[in-house]
Symmetry: C2
Subunit: 498 residues, 2 copies
């Protein structure tokens, strides 16, 4: 069999795996947005079967042989990226024996259910044994992959953010701790009250939907290649770059849906910008979790919470909600959506405190994997760290250690990507601002210029480059968290007159 034939067959095999993945993605989307309640348990079984078939293809001997045969093939950059991405996925799966993979899937489903019940009952003990099992499993899998001298937690970090280790993250979070915790204290001491009551009440669902569509189009989300839906928790998903979907959720606070739309559009615009040459391949996704989050937070914070962005957009908002915002000037609105208000819940956090929530989780999960912290210590440590970094104490475990589903799903090493994303975004913004006048572009509504620049330097590559390469080649620097800290310090000192 010659190389071209092997390559063709490899792509057929990967094509089958991709079709199964897309089916799973569609089922997830459908579950969250539409499926009838009674379908749940049956859909779960169907998805398990699809996942099983995917696992067998990805870990199968046939794929192994074909990958081996194609290893030295001189393909295009895209083709080589597909090969690398497929090899990485196979590597991650193959170290888990098929029986254990299924047992692990079962464990995750059970742990998530227990987490939901424990959270409702405000009873951490109910969840603790399952979390211990999850941690043991994750450690066992990581041990099988660990390189000489690599800690198990570093293996997990690398899975979500290639090339990032706890050494790098320790430095990153140390900087945040050193700079942001005192800044937050200063803001709290100053005690400036920023009025924001006008953000709540009187915003019709219909008006919010119109606003959502307007914003998505304004930012450049392409409805030829994507759709918007409604779900309990906003999310973005993509079958591939020609079918990108995001949701929002309408409640009584207009800024909830508004910023969730801008955030999810950041994810969506990323997916839509991936090169057509990578469509429906293993490399046709965002570079990493952190790089994805960088784009959503770039849009949400650097753009969406920038005064210049609102200059052309705020009048439109007033038009949509004359009763609520007719008498509120833009500056008042701008300050309201940027106010700092430490609270116990991560997903409701403001721009400044967000990464402090992540820092708590990072320190705890790192300690858990290293064996320095036991599961039983978590609720107490959680409260202690919230007190220390955010100056508040959660009033219950559902508002504390049980608020996030991630650990129950085995996602350990995942949280740091959220904070890294924000820091990547600030570095990208800082660099772009040297290349072009970002605020002038926002003031004149030139979202296309910003979007095109990001597409060219970030989006198009999909998994052709990892997040470190993208940052280095775009900004000429390695990952540099100082951008993030400086950005936050400057913005919030000015806002609070410190």
């Amino acid at each position: 069999m010659n190389m071209d034939q092997s390559w063709k067959e490899l792509n057929e095999e990967l094509g089958k795996a991709r079709a199964l993945e897309e089916a799973e993605i569609l089922f997830e989307w459908d579950n969250e947005t539409l499926a009838p309640p009674a379908a749940m348990e049956y859909t779960a079984r169907t998805m398990e079967r699809l996942a099983g078939m995917y696992f067998r293809i990805m870990t199968g001997d046939r794929l192994g042989e074909l990958l081996e045969k194609c290893r030295d093939r001189q393909g295009t950059e895209e083709e080589q990226a597909v090969l690398r991405a497929a090899e990485k996925k196979r590597r991650e799966l193959i170290l888990v024996p098929a029986e254990e993979y299924e047992a692990y899937s079962g464990l995750k489903a059970r742990a998530s259910a227990l987490w939901a019940r424990a959270r409702k009952a405000e009873d951490f003990e109910r969840f603790a044994p399952a979390l211990e099992e999850i941690i043991a499993c994750r450690k066992r899998f990581a041990a099988g992959r660990a390189k000489e001298g690599q800690s198990l937690y570093d293996v997990m970090l690398d899975e979500f953010e290639e090339g990032f280790s706890s050494e790098k993250l320790d430095r990153f979070f140390a900087l945040l701790r050193k700079e942001l915790v005192p800044l937050l204290e200063q803001i709290r001491e100053k005690g400036t009250e920023i009025p924001c009551s006008f953000l709540q009440g009187g915003y019709s669902g219909e008006g919010q939907e119109k606003l959502a569509e307007y914003l998505a189009k304004y930012l450049g989300f392409d409805f030829e290649r994507g759709v918007m839906g409604v779900s309990a928790h906003p999310f973005t998903t993509a079958l591939h770059s020609r079918d990108v979907r995001f949701t929002t959720h309408y409640d009584s606070r207009v800024d909830h849906s508004l910023f969730s739309v801008i955030h999810e559009c950041g994810h969506g615009i990323y997916e839509q910008g991936i090169s057509p040459l990578l469509v429906q391949t293993a490399a046709g996704e965002g570079a990493s979790m952190g790089m994805h989050e960088s784009q959503s937070r770039f849009y949400e914070n650097m753009i969406g919470r920038n005064r210049a962005f609102w200059e052309p957009v705020y009048p439109r908002l007033q038009e949509l909600f004359p009763g609520c915002l007719g008498n509120i000037d833009m500056e008042t609105f701008y300050r309201a959506v940027n106010r700092v208000e430490p609270g116990p819940i991560r997903i409701e956090a403001d721009e400044l405190t967000y990464s402090l929530h992540i820092m708590v989780r990072y320190e705890l999960e790192k300690g858990l994997i290293a064996g320095e912290i036991s599961v039983g210590d978590l609720p107490g440590l959680w409260e202690k760290k919230y007190e220390e970094y955010l100056g508040i104490r959660p009033q219950s475990v559902s508002q504390g250690v049980l608020q996030d589903i991630h650990w129950s799903q085995g996602s350990i090493g995942y949280f740091p990507s959220y904070a890294l994303g924000s820091a990547f975004a600030a570095q990208i913004y800082g660099y772009m601002n040297k290349e072009m006048d970002m605020e002038e572009l926002m003031r004149t509504g030139r979202m296309d210029v910003i979007r095109e620049y990001l597409r060219e330097h970030v989006h198009q590559y999909g998994k052709r480059k990892n997040s470190r390469e993208i940052l280095r080649e775009m900004t000429g620097q390695e990952f540099e968290p100082a951008y993030y800290v400086e950005y936050l310090k400057e913005k919030f000192r000015r806002l609070y007159g410190i």
Copy 2:
């Protein structure tokens, strides 16, 4: 390997196939209701891959061995039905070699595209060669399955409606021709004009949506186990009995969406009524195309176009559209939605002329497969038969021989099921009416009694019984088309005072 182990493995293998089928169903639903335009071609590729995997499982040696091993297993009735349904599906697929299966899929896609273009261009010649290929393919596949002395068309009929042959259908359609064609002539000669202009205009989409939801709930479609959507052409689909979906379409004519909802709810209530013991199995679908259509037409015509049905419902309709219907009494409305108006388009046909449209198609496809009619003869014969049976001539091929997509998709032998469905429905209604006072139940809104009766005698069985068995065991008679003819004659003679 003992029998229980084989049975377990058989169900795992069939479970994978079912998961792939459900994924395809979900993609189809999504395509029609939501997916962005640019996704089309990529979704087609994904569905092809899923279909390929399904085909390999269903025709694979492993499934063959497991079916063989389980053949003599003494299972429950449901288990035996699953075995029979799986064997039937395998039999239908296995005679097509894998390469030819893919070529045939390609041909169908090409033929459907050519059909759409030919229809738009009003140019039958563009479609003719592809139709010839389709016919040749279908004949070749049927030849591989034909029993001693069985005609190829009978093989195709049996595929859609087990136990029905052209001999039976010839008798059926001969009766329709003898009784309905003269009845239609009498109606036309009498020339009674039934006013119906009030059905058009002024019906808001919002009001129609409320009406659609109201009707679906009123009929007993269960929204815990189903959803309603909107698409260009109304349809019903089911992943399984716990996830049943139908669509409607809102235009300026209120009766279009109204009767499409009642019709699709008939399909949906059937699927929701299938025994939970058959969920997600090869036997967990309706008995046949004809039996499915019997339930949709039972609801649409026997129920939805019955005066008694509207007695409790019509005031609700007037409430929703006071401007349009406030001054229209129920009798006027009843007559308007039952008026006879022969036209060239099947899917717009009234209750009386519907099966005459089918008769034209039956005679033509039977002749095509027997080689007595050539593809080139179709447009001329089509016009001739419409003139003869319906007294009209289509003004163009798009209103004539090119109006339906079915043949381009290889569905030959499928059309008769539509007429059979109407006739099954009349037989079922006739029988039920002896058991209970159907009109009294409608008048008092006891849709639950009617639905439960159908569930017990028809729906619950899924594919455990074929349509002939269901009819025989329910009504104590073989299929008897006289019910249908008598029902139509009585209804329309009375309506037109003949």
